[in-house]
């Protein structure tokens, strides 16, 4: 994705499935258009992420990430 403009990426993903949802934060309404351009299942990604994070913290495998 590096070195590509937003317009080029938008053009590439224009036919991907989209869901639209509305959220309210600090009294303001936001319409969020979620474009699904990949092939991953969110449940798998989140479980993998959670497992790595919890395992690392409990077993002291990686330093605590300030940024992550």
């Amino acid at each position: 994705m590096k070195n590509r403009t937003m317009q080029e990426m938008n053009e590439q993903y224009k036919d991907c499935p989209v869901q639209v949802n509305t959220y309210e934060v600090d009294g303001r309404t936001y319409i969020v258009h979620s474009h699904f351009i990949g092939e991953r299942d969110i449940n798998d990604v989140m479980f993998q992420y959670a497992e790595n994070k919890a395992m690392s913290e409990m077993l002291g495998l990686v330093p605590k990430a300030v940024t992550a």
């Binding site: 949802n21 936001y30 969020v32 474009h35 919890a54 990686v62």
Partner: protein
Amino acid sequence: MLPKQTEYKVGMYMRLSKDDERSGESLSIENQRKILTEYITQQGWTLYDEYVDDGISGTTFDRPGVQRLLDDAKTGRINLILCKDLSRFGRNYIQVGQYTDYIFPMYNIRFIALTDNVDTANSASSGMDMMPIMNVFNEWHSANTSKKIRAVVESGAKSGKYRTTFASYGYFKGDDEKRTPVIDPVAAAVVRRIFEMRAAGYNMKRIAQVLNDEGILTPDDYRYSLLNKETPHYSLHLWSVETIKRLLRNQIYIGNLAQLRTTTVSYKNHKVIRKEEDEWVVVENNHEPIISRELWDKVREIEASVSTGKMTKQGITLPLTGLCYCADCGSKFKQAGSAKRKSTVTGYSCGQYARFGKKYCSSHFITAHALQDIVLADIKRQIDFVMNDDKAREKYLARKQGLYAEQHSGDKKKLRDINKRIAELDRLIASVYEDKVTGKMPEDMAFTLLDKYQTEKKSLQSESDEMQKHTDMAKQDEADVDEYIRRLKSYAGAEELTRQMALDLIEYITIDENPRKKAIPRDIHIYYKLIDKPLKNKNNALAEQAGAIKK
């Protein structure tokens, strides 16, 4: 016409390349010196100086010896250049010809290649007639040698022969014929950590900072510390972004041996050029990897991300930094501070607006916490998995026990060594005591030794107790498994948006203009690296738009 030389000041030139060394004694520097000195004596000439290039190819004239010789010739310090044969002077027929045919006559310098019968003062000789042909043959020899060496190197690389002076950081060169890389456990732990930090969303500067703050030796310093030597070249002794970048791109850490990554322009021009990745010779699964393929792929994905992960002045990378674009002008969003304290990042605004002003785009400002809340809410809405607690529990215990076994094997050896030394100290204490009683040892010396042994024993005893305590703690597997499950559920449920989560799930975000009236909704487009699971079996993905969910 230039005057004929009568008195010669001779510059004697000798060269031996690495390849020539295989030809044996006939080409050795010593042998060349002997032949040339004898000839100078016979002729009654004066030797001004000798010029030697040992271990340098004749295809280049970038040799210190030959350059000094040419300087002395041009400044008139010598007027006769003597070498054993033409190939000693050079194997590049264009350059050799240029010197012998143009430059040397211009400076009135005589050139003799003894065994080839070349003498520029005797243009009628057969050697002079043959000189161009001999030059071509000399160069052909170099071209041929170069081809042979390249073929050997390539075949070695293809068979997984590790050809390097120093092994990559994290490995030692093996003792086998192929010098197969062997893991260095100390450096490998640092390598693993670097990859894990990068996968967790650290940018390279931050990784370097962490390593520098902890005082971890740089690869160069570590290598020389193992050799008990000072780093021989100038160094700041600090990890740099470049070092981290190189390390993160080295396939050696997944067990692949990638060689022949650079080449030279030709055998005559030794300028190093980098090859395209598809031209490298890569032997897969050549040796034991330090990191998993999964971790490697994760780092590759982060490298390909549109975000470079710029840090704030406080050294923190916000979860969505670098992932947002202005929907109107397409420029990246920049971190924006508050009006009072510019160093504190409170949100993001259009990069074009930030750099060039409102004439080119509007601010599009959005607070960091609003954007994070929106993204988090949208992620949470999509999660619908059911966790199998027993399976998670089982996996955690297995991993913990694996780690325990790994650690325990090291501890066991250390504990054994400590106990051995304690037993030895007991024996020493007893023998000193006996020697004192029997009068074999003066009392003051006995007390000094006893004191020394007792102190060492006490220190070892406390170390042993500490290790035993660690071992006992590690055995309490069940105690923390509940905490693990709690954390697992919390993270999988996306309680907070982290940088790593953002990088795992989001390709990029576009943010529309901020409407002046608060009542007008604002549009945000999130491009997920995900499949559209809820709509998988529906024909019209946009059908969902009608039933927008209000949080």
